[in-house]
């Protein structure tokens, strides 16, 4: 099908985009179009006005400052996957970006678009939860910065108001010696994670001095598996500790169930992926 007719604007600055967004109801921001455009072609989404953000130069950047890496919302998955800055200072995010969809999707899709769409099986939320990332939102009236856990409220639901735009994602640079890994079991047709797990660990004197785990695809929203992190903190950095802690990866989460994976199987996958990804991250820690 072809999308219903709509008006199209391609502003060149964020302030112009925000003014357009406020100027008429039923406007939608268009980032890489990898979720919105298919919905429009199915005529499930019929916005009267699209505001294309691709020409806004100020939203395309990946820079490291003061121990943080700031990623402009219009950075594509491919740019994140191949960014030298990220590969050096936050390889977990680059690794996860490289697992999104296929090459065509990665060339078009953006981190800002993906997060604003808030698919609970998307790849980014797992590493961003594990890293304790933040997002900066801007509107005509001002701006605010939220932890990723507060930004992603529910399936397809974010803290964004209709007048806001996601400007950038902020992730901390890895502490020295940290190791990280992203692992997912994917739906073969869509590439979406049935379960995706991201871990970051560091070891001091044989014990875990840092252990973080983010999961996506398991429940209706991504989450940090704090019970697993607590069970690892300060304990010997061994496969036995990991195996025991990983048992709590799906604790307290109502696992999703669909034709591909029932709730029990999904919870099981969460525990298995948690164990494997923690082992992989440990193997990379120095």
């Amino acid at each position: 099908m072809i999308a219903q007719p709509f008006d199209y604007s391609a502003p060149e600055s964020v302030s112009e985009a925000l003014a357009l967004l406020g100027s008429r109801p039923d406007s939608r921001l268009l980032a890489g179009g990898q979720s919105l455009v298919p919905m429009m072609k199915l005529r499930l989404s019929t916005p009267a006005h699209l505001i294309d953000l691709t020409k806004i130069a100020e939203l395309h950047y990946i820079v490291e400052t003061n121990g943080s890496i700031r990623i402009g919302a219009m950075s594509t998955h491919r740019q994140i996957e191949s960014s030298e800055t990220l590969r050096q200072s936050c390889p977990l995010l680059a690794e996860a970006a490289g697992r999104i969809g296929d090459a065509q999707v990665r060339n078009m899709g953006t981190i800002g678009g993906s997060l604003s769409h808030a698919d609970p099986a998307a790849d980014y939320p797992a590493p961003l939860q594990a890293l304790g990332a933040k997002v900066r939102l801007v509107s005509k009236g001002g701006e605010r910065t939220l932890p990723i856990e507060e930004f992603l409220e529910d399936a397809f639901t974010t803290a964004l108001t209709g007048a806001e735009l996601l400007y950038e994602v902020i992730v901390p640079a890895d502490p020295p010696g940290a190791g990280s890994a992203y692992l997912k079991l994917e739906q073969p047709a869509s590439g979406f994670a049935v379960v995706g797990a991201a871990a970051q660990v560091a070891v001091q004197n044989g014990n875990f001095s840092l252990a973080r785990l983010g999961l996506t695809g398991v429940g209706s929203k991504s989450y940090r598996a704090r019970a697993v992190e607590t069970a690892l903190a300060g304990r010997p950095a061994t496969p036995a500790t990991i195996a025991e802690a990983a048992q709590q990866a799906a604790g307290g989460v109502e696992a999703l169930s669909d034709i591909y994976a029932g709730a029990d199987y999904r919870a099981h996958l969460a525990r298995v992926c948690a164990r494997r990804v923690l082992e992989a991250a440990l193997a990379r820690a120095k």
């Binding site: 039923d26 919905m39 529910d154 399936a155």
Partner: protein, 162 residues
Amino acid sequence: MKVQGDFLLPLDQQAAWNLLLDAGVLARAMPGCESLLPTGPDQYDMRMKIAVSSIRGLFGGQVRIEDKNPPASYRLVLQGEGKLGHLRGAGLLALSGEAESTRVRYDGEVQIGGLIASVGERMLDLTAKMMIRRFFGALEKEARAWTQAPAPSSGLPTGNVT
């Protein structure tokens, strides 16, 4: 698709029963409900605006309350239609007292068809569960408002609710 679960209302069972049959409360708690107007005893016309991700659509339909067994259970039947498709659902709500609170169990079935079904099972399932969570979350808030000012509304449904 099956929907099943339970939630806790901070009210005794009789008050919880009254809350769950108060059209004004239901209209405020149902996500996207724009109006809920009585057409007969325990029957209402409903207008709902669905807004999930980039999908926006208006649904019109009916809500019926059947098999009332106060203050223990009733069946909620709803059907709706819009440009995006149609939906039919029915489920049993069962109340049981639990200390000062009331546990409400729901068990039902929802069928969704038409254009919207093309988004696939995964998204429909997620969306249905999210709307149920929002509904019960809102009911909990309503219940807390009742415990603070225990003056149930007249039971007369409101016209337009935002």
